[in-house]
């Protein structure tokens, strides 16, 4: 396993409460807190991410849901599927609203105004509400040492508004704001932000961060439990394939999520007290081409563009100490 240190200095030791890891499928609790009845797409993987998070977190939980599919589709109309408290937040401010909830519980418990246990406080934000318009609030929440969990469910676009580019959209992907055309043949010409690294690098209060994928449900749920057990702010970045946005058949979400991990388009790792631990490392990396072929959003890509994407993935893996062999030569950047 790769061992590297990432992030700023960590002056305090990690403080982690007892929690029950889920060791096998049999151990997964069966009481749903994200119940049937939401207007998400058939095969919606962000919905699965929500369900798994709610299963792992259990009843003593408060969710905040910034604007996005997981607000609009889940609450169409004047109803919702959560069996725990949930509050809508603006797409801008999920991190700030959960900061307020956390501060309130801390104060109310201290002052004897609340006699329950401190709840799990979870913001479940999309990639736009985390890496783009919500970045400032996310940073504030991670910086201030509240006891809360910020989860980014990443479907790599503003999906609720009809699939528009976000900072998490991969290079080369079609969105309605990045259509491939004569002048811009590669659709999205930019490479995505590295959100987890941004959070890790600049927020010393954050002792636990993890990526996860809906295609690895036990890993995801255990990370949720661990993140909630860690005292202080924690961050999770969940890869959640979007059949509408990425243009694949509704039943293929779990397969495509897995393919992302097997090609290195997504990596499962956690950072605990500054130490990086990669959770899934395929024996042999599959080419990015295999992943790209599964989704309509990449259907316009030429071999050269795919090679450029492969080089980006190789560099990202190398950064985690997971060099692909042999490394792909970097194609020239388009003018």
């Amino acid at each position: 396993m790769a061992q590297a240190r990432l992030g700023a200095q960590k002056p305090d030791k990690i403080e982690i409460a007892d929690y029950e890891p889920i060791r096998s499928m049999r151990n997964v609790p069966t009481t749903e807190y994200y119940v049937p009845g939401h207007r998400t797409c058939g095969g919606c993987m962000p919905a699965l991410a929500y369900r798994l998070t709610a299963l792992a977190a259990g009843p003593n939980t408060v969710f905040a849901g910034p604007t996005g599919c997981m607000y609009v589709a889940n609450t169409s109309y004047l109803c919702g599927p959560w069996a725990v408290p949930w509050i809508h937040t603006q797409i801008t401010n999920g991190g700030a609203v959960i900061s307020g909830i956390a501060a309130a519980y801390k104060a109310m418990i201290r002052k004897g105004k609340y006699d329950g246990e401190y709840p799990n406080i979870i913001c479940f934000a999309g990639d736009g509400g985390s890496s783009d318009i919500g970045l400032q609030a996310l940073s504030g929440a991670m910086y201030r040492n509240h006891d809360l969990l910020f989860i980014t469910y990443d479907n790599e676009a503003y999906a609720n508004t009809g699939i528009q580019v976000s900072p998490m959209t991969p290079y080369g992907a079609y969105t309605t704001f990045t259509p491939p055309g004569k002048v811009v043949p590669d659709a999205k010409p930019l490479f995505p932000k590295d959100l987890l690294k941004m959070v890790a690098a600049g927020h010393p209060a954050v002792k636990y961060l993890a990526t996860a994928s809906v295609s690895y449900p036990l890993d995801l749920m255990n990370k949720v439990r661990k993140a909630l057990a860690v005292k202080g702010p924690t961050f999770m970045h969940i890869h959640a394939p979007c059949p509408k946005g990425w243009s694949f058949e509704a039943h293929r979400g779990p397969e495509i999520g897995k393919l992302a991990v097997e090609t290195g388009m997504w990596t499962l790792y956690e950072i605990e007290d500054g130490h990086v631990k990669v959770n899934v490392r395929p024996r042999k990396w599959r080419p990015v081409k295999d992943y790209v072929a599964t989704q309509g959003r990449f259907s316009h890509l030429t071999d050269e563009m795919i090679q450029r994407l492969q080089a980006f993935v190789d560099a990202k893996l190398a950064d985690l100490g997971l060099e692909a062999e042999p490394p792909t030569p970097v194609p020239p950047v388009a003018g």
Partner: protein, 399 residues
């Protein structure tokens, strides 16, 4: 025992917030309201006030933090000024629409441009239609009192609305005056603990703010409108209660000064009504019967009270400390409300608008005299040639 101190409005507000025993405070620096937060930070650090003091990463975050905290069941406080108030604008409607009785004090400051620090009411008034209670203090004492009054009003189960207690930046926030600080028995008697209508409690889960269809939108907004109407009904009894407990003498909506025999009145909010009173006294010597009507609540706007009170006079001179570019008669938001209220009044006085104090500039005593003379000329004139003036930029010739 209540005790008297000499402090400015910013600090007076902090004292009242402490007296209200808030649970969560969210700060962000911007002049001139900052003094309140500096004082609260000290109180929390020294253990005088047991509250979570959260450093917001901007005004937008401030309002978001207190929204979340109020939704969880905490009594909350935040504050801002000028462009900070407009940066946070997105949150005003969700906070009111979900009935979180958040208190956000505004120490007024002009927007950019002109970018100076002076007091102008445009920052707060631009947010007047979102379902927040709003009104101005004319002294540090009134700033202190309003903080407590607004918590009581906003958290009233019939109201449950957020509040903007405003004070003119610098004039009220920075210039000290005598303030009587309440003792805890008085506060306990006047302000019951916050009992939210709904809260994010895992033991009784609710969903707050789901998406609705177009045909459900009005049905939701009606609730906010009705809460504002009920606030108007509740205000007189709350003010009476406050006067009883604290020994003050506030009118619920309109504080009148030397109006019994007045032909004409200055009508305004906040700090600028104070020199207007002195002007009114002195102008009596010149034979000008001028009074002052101070508006204590902009929202809910006291329509009937304004219509009834102002129809007693020949001329009303509105001190318009705010811009509303392109507004009716090119006046301003207060004039627009006054004119509307007077439409169904028993009698219609002539209404002049004096756009002054903009960018925070001073309105000097001489200006009040000049305004009074213009009002007198208006009273005598058969018809008015001009009714809206930029104070100091043009002669106040009404006829």
């Amino acid at each position: 025992m209540p005790r008297k101190v000499r402090i400015a409005g910013a600090k007076a507000t902090a004292e009242a917030v402490k007296a209200a025993n808030v649970d969560v405070i969210c700060s962000y620096p911007i002049r001139p309201y900052t003094g309140t937060m500096i004082e609260l930070a000290r109180m929390v650090a020294d253990g005088e006030l047991d509250a979570e003091f959260v450093h917001g990463e901007g005004e937008h975050a401030q309002l978001s933090v207190v929204l979340g905290a109020s939704a969880a069941g905490a009594r909350v406080f935040t504050g801002t000024s000028g462009v900070g108030a407009t940066y946070a604008f997105e949150l005003y409607s969700p906070i009111a629409g979900e009935f979180h009785p958040v208190q956000c004090m505004i120490a007024n400051r002009t927007l950019d441009p002109p970018g100076d620090f002076g007091s102008e009411h445009t920052d707060a008034l631009s947010a007047r239609d979102q379902g927040w209670l709003m009104g101005w203090a004319a002294s540090p004492q009134e700033a202190y009192d309003n903080t407590l009054i607004y918590y009581r009003l906003g958290e009233d189960p019939r109201v449950m609305l957020p509040q903007f207690p405003c004070q003119d930046g610098y004039f009220i926030s920075h210039i000290s005056g005598e303030v009587e600080l309440a003792d805890s028995d008085q506060v306990e008697e006047f302000l019951p603990p916050f009992n939210p209508r709904n809260k994010l409690d895992p033991r009784q889960p609710v969903l707050m703010g789901p998406q609705c269809r177009a045909d459900q939108g009005a049905a939701i907004e009606l609730g906010r409108a009705e809460a504002m109407v009920r606030a108007r009904e509740v205000i007189p009894s709350v003010i009476a209660d406050f006067n009883r407990v604290f020994g003050r003498n506030y009118s619920p909506f309109l504080q009148e000064y030397m109006t019994e025999d007045a032909d004409m009145v200055f009508f305004g909010q906040g700090a600028h009504t104070v020199p207007a009173r002195l002007a009114a006294e002195r102008l009596r010597k010149d034979g000008l019967k001028v009074g002052v009507v101070q508006l204590r609540f902009m929202r809910p706007f006291p329509t009937d009270e304004v219509a009834e009170a102002l129809s007693r006079f020949k001329v009303v001179g509105v001190l318009e400390i705010s811009n509303s570019f392109g507004a009716v008669y090119d006046s301003g938001p207060v004039t627009a409300e006054v004119l509307s209220a007077l439409y169904y009044a028993p009698a219609q006085p002539k209404v002049l608008t004096f756009l002054g104090g903009l960018g925070g500039e001073n309105i000097r005593l001489a200006d009040y005299y000049e305004m009074a003379r213009a009002m007198k000329a208006a009273a005598d004139a058969e018809r008015l040639k001009k009714r809206v003036f930029w104070l100091g930029f043009e002669p106040l010739h009404v006829a």
